[in-house]
Point group: C2
Chain length 333, copies 2
């Protein structure tokens, strides 16, 4: 028997989650059954979309259950194997996050070949956030030559990849992020104009100044005032890939949408929401492009790492005040 | 010399336009010069988009100028011709509305072949509003087999055509309109479920009841609460053609957008604004389909007619309280 800890949903938050919404518990893992393996988690991810799963509402991802372990992406290592397809010591990617270890059928896990990258990259730049950026920019927003691109949440796991993919393809990129450190990093990776929204009283004016001719593509991770400014700056036939609206995820009452939505009409704007799971077929193409861009020095990434399962709630809560530079991760192993 | 009257913009409205914003004036028409014709207008159109032109803001249509005649679509008859391409008595379509007559270069006018329809139909079902419905539904919303279609402003010039085109193609159609007369008419032309929004306290509940399985396509003429209800009822991969937002055209301060815009993400909704002028190339195909549908009895239309140029401001103002059943027109000839 092995004892591992897991984090359970103790209560559903109203507004910003607090420690009181989480509960640490210990569970005993028996020896894995036939066709099963036992895995020790090395890394887990916290992502903004998990906030929605803390509510008891139907959405694209099922809600977390009260009193049950939360879940999400994780990278682990096989410690005991009862299946010939996974050997002890091999790395696996799974949906069994928010816990130190677990037993699972080998068939439910994905063997991870890190291809020279650190394994936790597959929770960020080389994983779902990276593919989200790639599919959202190239397919949903249908990026084309000459497009001026605006990205909110530009220093986040998804946003930073959007910026760099657009730069790798030769576009003018305007990114918005909060705080001097993020601004400096985005400039260092080649973003043409960086708006520090926390230091800006008028986002509309800041975007107009950064993109006097307007924007063709907006990649939205934030919603709210950023979306309103993007509508004001949009050119004719602009395309908006709506990926996230972190500004409203903790709202306790409905937050009004942008007051300038009628601009969609005169400017013939296409605004399209998406979730990455509908674009998994692009993963091989994304990994091929990513390998090339990494080799050319065109794409790099940052991680903000919290240490140990105890720190996972803080890592998660920190997403909503923008504590992360790049991918927010929890190191478990 | 011929004396004709024209309506000029006297002042820019704040909120709903009033009679004080309009001014009647008389002008003398000289004999038309070489290559010119003189036209007596028979019909003029009033359309919601003209409200935007009363503001002094840059948009897809230029603002009306203070002290100058307003303009817009009109059907007239040539009374004097100084050009071999247009004969006296021929019908012409022009942008010289809001006046009883005018001189213009023949080359600036479009000769009208009514093809068995009443000429004023080319200001409505067979003209721009009809093409707006056709292009918005078939191209922008990309209607496909099995789609459940929701239409707001369903008894208006555009909305009623959207309903009938969708019915002609075999779809389930839910229309929203205000008042018993409109509801009865929409039912009589085959709309499956009609919501009387003026008699409904909860538009979300009404739409859920009409489309318990959700909607695939929303054709928006209204914005506001209708757009919010459509987002709530949208199915995965729903498409919204954003044609108009008459509910906010007279707003004196910014009206907040729908509070549930984040549903775009989980449902992968595409929301696309459009104006008809980008789809003029579809006109021949539209006219061919329309002729077939009219012959089969699948498409008909209503007109609400105000008589004489003096009544044009009332006709226009009446659009915003929904006084029109079908196309709002002013008969001049």
């Amino acid at each position: 028997m092995t004892t591992v800890r897991e984090i359970r949903l103790k209560s559903r938050p109203s507004g910003l989650p607090t420690h009181a919404n989480f509960e640490m518990a210990s569970v005993e893992l028996a020896a894995p059954g036939p066709g099963e393996v036992q895995v020790k988690n090395l890394w887990m991810t916290v992502d903004p979309y998990m906030r929605g799963r803390m509510n008891d509402v139907k959405s694209y991802a099922p809600p977390f259950q009260l009193g049950k372990a939360m879940d999400g992406g994780a990278i682990g290592q096989v410690t005991v194997s009862n299946d010939p397809n996974l050997k002890v010591g091999e790395l696996v990617q799974s949906g069994y996050g928010w816990r130190e270890g677990f037993n699972a059928p080998a068939a439910a896990l994905q063997k991870l070949d890190p291809r020279g990258l650190p394994p936790q990259a597959f929770l960020g730049a080389a994983g779902m956030p990276g593919l989200t950026a790639y599919a959202g920019l190239l397919k949903v927003a249908a990026l084309k030559d000459g497009d001026v691109v605006f990205v909110s949440g530009a220093a986040g796991a998804v946003g930073a990849m959007v910026c760099q993919i657009a730069k790798a393809k030769g576009h003018v990129v305007i990114g918005s992020a909060g705080g001097a450190e993020k601004v400096a990093w985005l400039k260092s990776i080649g973003v043409d104009h960086v708006i520090d929204y926390k230091a800006t009283s008028d986002l509309n004016a800041a975007l107009t100044e950064a993109a006097p001719g307007g924007i063709d593509v907006y990649f939205d991770n934030v919603g709210g005032a950023h979306l309103e400014a993007a509508l004001n700056s949009a050119k004719l036939f602009a395309r908006f890939a709506i990926c996230g609206m972190i500004s409203i995820y903790n709202a306790t009452k409905p937050e009004p949408g942008p007051s300038n939505l009628a601009q969609l009409i005169g400017k013939n704007i296409r605004m399209e929401g998406f979730i990455v799971s509908h674009h998994f077929s692009m993963m091989p193409q994304f990994h091929a492009d990513l390998a090339k861009w990494v080799a050319e020095g065109k794409v790099s990434w940052k991680e903000t790492v919290f240490d140990g399962l105890d720190a996972a709630p803080d890592a998660f809560i920190g997403l909503f005040s923008g504590e992360n530079l790049g991918k927010m991760l929890v190191k478990l192993g």
